[in-house]
């Protein structure tokens, strides 16, 4: 009742008890994250390796990340590790491999569908800060999908970018674009 933040316990990746790391977000959230998942955050990995000591239960503050984003990141990374394990187990069996792939694609599609444009952008910033390669790649792909074949105005609005071209400059860019055409098949 008096607490500022919300204490959130996250499910362990495997059934056995795993070590957890405590992460605190900028808006007061506290997360107990399983070590394997936390080690995906390269920003943490280097922190522990730098310190030269074995993992222990100190709490780490993440000043650039909020609760909502961190919970999404943990959700994705947990599932990603699970899929990784399933893939490894299915290695060699083509049908099983295909099933894992499809399951993963289904999860990713649903995951990204539920994200608003705002959330997607916030997640990219958070994941970029936390340095999680795989998830960043996934988010980049998702952003590309959302702005593909859209007008310039839409893209600017999506990223909240102001147009800093003069009309003459815009014209010149149009000329360059028109003239250097790609994707036209030769006879």
């Amino acid at each position: 009742m008096a607490d500022d933040g919300v204490n959130t316990k996250v499910e362990a990746v495997s059934k056995a008890t795993t070590e957890t790391i405590e992460l605190r977000t900028e808006d007061g959230g506290v997360f107990d994250v399983d070590k394997p998942v936390a080690m995906e955050f390269l920003i943490l990995k280097s922190f522990y390796e730098d310190e030269g000591r074995v993992f222990d239960k100190t709490s780490i503050r993440l000043p650039n990340v909020k609760q909502l984003e961190l919970s999404k990141v943990i959700e994705y990374c947990t599932r990603a590790l699970e899929f990784g394990a399933k893939s490894a187990a299915a290695a060699g069996d083509k049908d099983a491999e295909r099933m894992v792939r499809q399951e993963r694609e289904g999860f990713e599609a649903e995951f990204v569908d539920e994200l608003s444009n705002e959330m997607l952008k916030e997640l990219i910033l958070a994941v970029n800060f936390l340095d999680i390669k795989e998830m960043l790649d996934f988010l980049i792909r998702s952003v590309a999908n959302r702005i593909r074949n859209r007008s310039v105005a839409y893209v600017r609005q999506f990223f909240d970018i102001e147009n800093d071209f003069t009309p003459q400059e815009e014209d010149q860019i149009h000329q360059e674009n028109a003239w250097a055409f790609e994707g036209v098949d030769a006879d």
């Binding site: 910033l125 310039v152 990223f159 360059e176 036209v184 030769a186």
Partner: protein, 604 residues
């Protein structure tokens, strides 16, 4: 609080470039280039391919683009393509769209509104290109009339990482080629088709310089390139994998040198009048890795040559025999028994190859996936029956002008080749309903069917196809017996249909159009030329639901008027091409559709 451009300020350049990389369409990348200055710079830096057509002033534009697109690795300059954009005019920023590929069918010379001056890229332009794109890896200069050795020399000197060079149709001289040999030591791919200015001197210097890295070489119609060049290739290009030769000046001597000197050869295409069996025998002994062999016209090869290939090239996968008059069944049998891994076979106009040769293919080549028989009058039904029995993996069958093949053969294919995806038949007058019905019954994977000018095929065949196959492409032009019933069956049975050609069908009317409008919403392309019974009513029904239409041919359709053309144009937002008589296009339609309409200008 909404992020005020937080993402643009917080995202590092590499991530933005990653996003651009995944936007693989030009409109998307163009949009990104207009967002803001930072994005423009990053976008230009990350473009790796440019295509340039004949345009207003190519040299000037080369200067412009080399300033910005510094990481370009691939440049195609194809001066057969003329760019319709008007330079110096203003574009509205939101409504501007780069024009799609245009074709103008002009029977009468008349000046259209879009006349502009074309000039071609010059040596000076090439020099700027070379200076600007120092990381260039692939360069194509297709029919660039103004380019000479000088330009090629400067490109060669500046672009030392060049891996692939296409000089098709350019009149460059030997010094240019010598410079390429000297400077571009990583060159793998070279196309010299129609480079009439080149002679042995240039090729020899090229081989001396970058022969080690060369993997692919193409030469056609170069009267001054002779056996001497090939001997140099044989001596210095040990890594050569692909060779394509079209020349009257090459004889056995040259080919023997290549066969002996290039053991890694995988692809060999020959159109050389003076080459005989002796050369093929050498290829059989020397090139055991050969996978693709294509022999074209006026060859003096006989079965002996094919036997040598059958004995030596056990890895052969792809064989094309075109207009090889002296080849007979014996030669094909030798290939069949010797090359069991053959997947693609084309026999075109080889009048002495008949049923027996194809039977042996059917018996021995179980990996066959694609078979093409063109102008083979001597091949009969038994050939296809045997293929049906032995080639269970067949996916594509092409038959043109094979008067010996009838329903029995097609039934054999249907029963045996259940994986068939593509069936193209043209002018085989013995094939009728029975054969096609069998296809509809057994070949459930069929997506591409073309029956052109087979006048014994009627509605019954299409009913069976509609029931059994989910077609994406159908062409029944010239099959006079087909009428509304057949096309309606297709409309009801093939909802995935994306392209349809019913040209020259006199019995086809508006009822079929209406059904197509209802049953095939994914239709992108339709060809109705010469359909006398189709009227504006049919067009309006068609367009109602087929909103994805991109292309429509409707010349010589007396029932379609200007109103029908207007309906077509206004009803389909994606329309890219309409082929119709000029006088049927009203001013209003012309204004709306503009660049989309191609005219057939004939005084009817």
């Amino acid at each position: 609080m909404r992020g005020h451009d937080r993402i643009n300020t917080c995202l590092p350049d590499e991530l933005l470039v990653e996003i651009f990389r995944r936007l693989d369409s030009k409109p998307s990348r163009d949009a990104c280039s207009l967002v803001c200055k930072r994005w423009l710079n990053l976008e230009r830096l990350s473009r790796s391919t440019l295509r340039i057509g004949a345009s207003g002033s190519p040299d000037h534009f080369v200067k412009l683009i080399t300033r910005r697109f510094v990481n370009v690795k691939t440049v195609h300059v194809d001066e057969r393509l003329s760019l319709p954009a008007q330079f110096g005019r203003r574009f509205g920023s939101e409504s501007f769209r780069p024009s799609p590929k245009l074709r103008y069918v002009k029977e009468k010379a008349g000046s259209e509104d879009n006349e502009f001056e074309t000039s071609y890229i010059s040596d000076a332009g090439l020099t700027v290109l070379g200076e600007g794109f120092s990381k260039l890896e692939k360069l194509s200069l297709i029919w660039c009339n103004n380019v000479s050795s000088m330009g090629l020399v400067s490109v060669a000197q500046k672009c030392r990482s060049l891996k692939s060079l296409d000089l098709q149709g350019c009149y460059v001289g030997d010094p240019g080629l010598a410079a390429v040999g000297e400077c571009c030591r990583q060159l793998e791919d070279l196309n010299l088709r129609f480079c009439e200015g080149l002679s042995d001197k240039g090729v020899v210097e090229l081989a001396l310089g970058c022969g080690k890295s060369l993997k692919a070489l193409g030469v056609a119609a170069c009267a001054k390139i002779t056996d001497i060049s090939l001997e140099a290739v044989g001596s210095h290009c040990k890594s050569l994998e692909t060779l394509s030769l079209d020349s009257e000046c090459i004889s056995n001597k040259g080919l023997l040198a290549v066969a002996k000197g290039c053991p890694l050869l995988k692809v060999l295409k020959l159109q050389c009048v003076n080459v005989t069996d002796e050369a093929l025998a050498a290829v059989g002994t020397g090139c055991s890795l050969l996978e693709l062999l294509a022999l074209y016209s006026l060859q003096r090869f006989t079965d002996r040559g094919l036997q040598a290939i059958g004995n030596g090239c056990k890895k052969l996968k792809n064989l094309t025999l075109s207009d090889c008059y002296f080849l007979s069944d014996k030669g094909l049998e030798a290939i069949a028994t010797g090359c069991k891994e053959v997947t693609h076979l084309e026999v075109n106009g080889c009048h002495n190859i008949g049923t027996m040769g194809l039977e042996s293919i059917g018996k021995s080549c179980q990996q066959l996936t694609e078979l093409a028989l063109l102008f083979c009058q001597k091949i009969g039904n038994n050939a296809l029956l045997e293929v049906g029995r032995g080639c269970k993996l067949l996916q594509a069958l092409h038959l043109v002008d094979c008067s010996g093949i009838g329903d029995e053969g097609i039934c054999g294919i249907g029963r045996g080749c259940r994986k068939l995806k593509k069936l193209h038949i043209r002018r085989c007058y013995e094939i009728g309903n029975k054969g096609i019905v069998a296809i509809g019954e057994y070949c459930k994977s069929l997506t591409d069917l073309s029956l052109r000018f087979c006048d014994r095929v009627g509605d019954e065949a299409l009913v069976a196809i509609g029931q059994g196959c989910s077609l994406q492409h159908l062409n029944v032009s010239g099959c006079h017996q087909i009428g509304d019933a057949g096309i309606i069956a297709i409309a009801r049975g093939c909802p995935q249909l994306s392209s349809l050609d019913v040209s020259v069908l006199q019995n086809l009317g508006d009822m079929a159009m209406a059904e197509l409008g209802e049953g095939c919403p994914l239709l992108k392309e339709i060809l109705l030329s010469h359909c006398r019974q189709i009227t504006d009513v049919g067009i309006s029904h068609l367009v109602k639901n087929c909103t994805l239409l991109e292309s429509c041919h409707m010349v010589y359709c007396p029932g379609i008027t200007a109103a029908g053309v207007a309906t077509m144009v206004s009803g389909c937002a994606n329309m890219k091409k309409v082929l119709v008589e000029k006088w049927k296009v009203s001013q209003r339609t012309k204004r709306r559709a503009g660049p989309v309409i191609s005219y057939l200008c004939m005084d009817l």
